[in-house]
Symmetry: C2
Subunit: 355 residues, 2 copies
C-alpha cells in the first residue's frame, strides 16, 4: 500500500498534555534540553533569520522559521498583553515541521505548552554552562504561566530544590507554590524582589509587563550570581536596570534578534555579548570564576522551537499521541488536481444515490 500522502500528524493541546504526562514532565524537560543542546552545537548549519513580525496596536504576530538543510520548522506565535482581560492567553503558538527534500509538512503541533517547556529547557541548558557550582537555590521573580516550568527544568537539570518566589500579585506566587507542591521543593514566598534574591545563586526574572521595567536594581545583584532573564523579550520590554548589564558577562541566543528584543537593547549596538552556542562548543568561555555575574538574556529563538518540534516528532510513533489531519491534496496523478475534485463530486453523487 502506498503511504497516505495527504496525512499530516497533528498534536493537539490534549495530546500534548498527555504526551508530557506520559513521558513525565521532568524527563520531558531533560530530553528536550538534550535536543536543544544538540542543535545549539550544530548552530552554524542552520538558516537563521530574526523573526518576521506583524505589529499592531494591541500586540504582535510572528513567524519564526529555520532549517538545518534536512528539516524545516516554523512557529506561529502571538503576543497580546491585554488578552488576559477576556480570559485569553497573552501568548499562543503552533508550529510545523517539514521535509526540506520534498517540502511536505510532517508535523503540525500546538506550541503554547511546548513553548513554555522549550523556554524553560533552554534556560536550564544555559545555566548548566553559566551558573556557579553547588547551586541549590533560585529566586523566581514573576510567578505567571512560565514560572513553574522554569522551576521544574532547573530541578531536573541542575538539582535546584529551594525556590524564593516573588510577584507583585501575591496570588500568583500562591498559585505557583500550590502547583509545585508535589515536586519536592523547599519554597519561600517573599514580600519583595529584594527579599527573594537573598541567598539565591540563580535569579530568574520572568515578568509579563510590556514596558521597560526595573525588576532588579543594581544593588540587588551580588557577585557570583547567574541571572536568567526571560521576561524581557520584545522592543520596549526589559526587566533589568542597565547598570546590572554593565557588570555582567552577557550570553545571548542570536545577537541580531537579541539586540532588538532582549535586555541588551538598553546597551550600545556593539556592546560585547557571547553567543550561547559558542560556549557549548567550547569556542567561547562560559563562567570563568566564582565572582563573575553571568546573564543569560533569553528572548527565544527559532532553533529552540525546531528542537522542540523535532523532539515531539520523535515521540509520535512510540506513543501514538496524535491525530491524522487531511491537510495535503493528493490526487492519484499529480497533474490532475481538478480531476480529483471531479471524482469527489461523482463519489458524492454515488453515495447520495445508494443511501
Amino acid at each position: 500500500m502506498t503511504p497516505r500522502l495527504n496525512i499530516v500528524p497533528f498534536v493537539s493541546v490534549d495530546h500534548m498534555m498527555k504526551l508530557v504526562l506520559a513521558v513525565g514532565i521532568d524527563r520531558f524537560l531533560i530530553d528536550l534540553a538534550a535536543y536543544i543542546e544538540e542543535d545549539f552545537r550544530r548552530w552554524e548549519l542552520f538558516d537563521k533569520t530574526p523573526r518576521i513580525a506583524s505589529h499592531s496596536i494591541d500586540g504582535v504576530i510572528e513567524l519564526m522559521p529555520t532549517s538545518d538543510g534536512q528539516l524545516y520548522g516554523f512557529k506561529y506565535v502571538n503576543g497580546h498583553p491585554k488578552n488576559t482581560r477576556d480570559g485569553r492567553q497573552t501568548v499562543t503558538a503552533f508550529g510545523v515541521m517539514a521535509d526540506v527534500g520534498n517540502g511536505y509538512p510532517m508535523l503540525l503541533s500546538e506550541m503554547t505548552i511546548l513553548t513554555a517547556l522549550r523556554t524553560a529547557a533552554t534556560s536550564a541548558v544555559a545555566a548548566k554552562y553559566l551558573a556557579p557550582n553547588a547551586t541549590d537555590c533560585m529566586a523566581i521573580i514573576g510567578n505567571g504561566a512560565q514560572s513553574e516550568f522554569q522551576a521544574i527544568a532547573f530541578k531536573a537539570l541542575l538539582g535546584i530544590d529551594r525556590l524564593r518566589l516573588y510577584d507583585i500579585d501575591r496570588s500568583a506566587s500562591l498559585k505557583c507554590a500550590k502547583n509545585l507542591a508535589g515536586f519536592d521543593f523547599d519554597i519561600a514566598i517573599c514580600a519583595s524582589a529584594q527579599e527573594a534574591v537573598e541567598g539565591a545563586h540563580i535569579i530568574t526574572t520572568v515578568t509579563a509587563d510590556k514596558r521597560s521595567a526595573t525588576i532588579l536594581t543594581d544593588n540587588m545583584v551580588g557577585s557570583g550570581v547567574h541571572i536568567n532573564a526571560v521576561g524581557g523579550d520584545c522592543p520596549g520590554k526589559t526587566e533589568l536596570h542597565r547598570d546590572i548589564l554593565l557588570r555582567s558577562d552577557i550570553f545571548v541566543e542570536y545577537p541580531p534578534q537579541s539586540r532588538i528584543e532582549g535586555e541588551v537593547q538598553q546597551l550600545e549596538p556593539d556592546h560585547p555579548v557571547t553567543e550561547l552556542w559558542q560556549v557549548m562548543t567550547g569556542k567561547a568561555a562560559g563562567r570563568r570564576d566564582a565572582s563573575q555575574i553571568t546573564l543569560f538574556d533569553s528572548v527565544g529563538f527559532a532553533i529552540e522551537d525546531f528542537s522542540a518540534l523535532r523532539y515531539v516528532r520523535d515521540q509520535l510513533q512510540r506513543t501514538g499521541l496524535y491525530e491524522e489531519l487531511d491537510l495535503l491534496a493528493d490526487p492519484d496523478e499529480p497533474r490532475d488536481l481538478f480531476g480529483m475534485l471531479l471524482r469527489a463530486d461523482k463519489a458524492a453523487q454515488i453515495t447520495a444515490v445508494s443511501s
Copy 2:
C-alpha cells in the same frame, strides 16, 4: 456558556472539495474573484513583504504573510519540481487566518486546491481589466494541474468558451479536455504552441518546467492579444521570450516580488510596470486600445491568499464544512498553564480509577 477558546476551525482537503462542489466551482470562482478584487482595491492598507523563502537543492519552502490591520493571514507553500517522480504534488500549501486584535488563529485551511482556485480567479480578474473586448477564445499552453481552473475562471468571469490546448505531453492536453467535458467548451487540442495561439485573444502560459524556457516566441504574439503568464514564478523560471516583454504593457501584482520571480526578471530593474491594483482603482490605465499587447505577469501574492482565506472563513457557518481543531491551550486562568497540565493528570487518574 463561554466560547471554547481552544478551538480553531479546520478546512481539510475533503471539506475544501465538498465546499467547492456545494457552492459550484464557477460560482466559487466568481465570488472568490470578488473578494480578491475588493482586497486589491484597498491594496494600500495591507502590510506587504516579499515571500520569506528557504531554498534548498530540490526546491523551496515559503511563508507568505500579510495583514489588513484587522485580519492577518499567511500561507505555507512549497515548490519541488521533482516531487511528481514519486507521486507527490510539486506544490502543496496550507494557510492560517488570525485576528490581529488578539493574535488568535481563526481558521486553518488546506490551500493546495484553494491556491489553484485563487490563482485562476486572479488571472480572470486581471483579464477583465486588460483583455480585448469581445473575447471568446483562449489558448492554454501547459495543461497541468492549473489549466482547468484557468479555463473555468475565464468562462465564469469573461465568457470564454473556446479553448485551444497545447502541452509538450499530449496526454496532459487529453486529461484537461476530458476534465472539462461537462463544462460546455469548444475545445481544440493543438500540435504546437504556434497552432494553439492562432485565433486566440488571450494566451495563458502555465507550464511547470523550472528553467528559463521560451514557450512563446516573439513572432507568435500578434497585436491586441492579452497574455496571462502564470507559469513563470520563481528566479530562473520564465516562459516568454524577452522580446515579447519589450512589446507589451506589463501588469504585475507587487513589483518588488515580481521583479525577482516573474517574467520581468528578464528586464532591467527599472523597466516600467503597472501595478494591477492601480488599474482596478482607476489610478492607472489598463487596456487603452485594440492593438496593444497586455501582459499580466502573475507570480501569486500574499494578498490573494488572504482574500481566499477570508472567503473560505465567510462560508464556514453557513456550510458547516469544517472540523474543530484543539489547537490553542486554554487554561481556566490565563497565568495557570502549568495548573492546566496538572489537572489533566488528575482527570486522567480519576478516569483510570473509575474504569
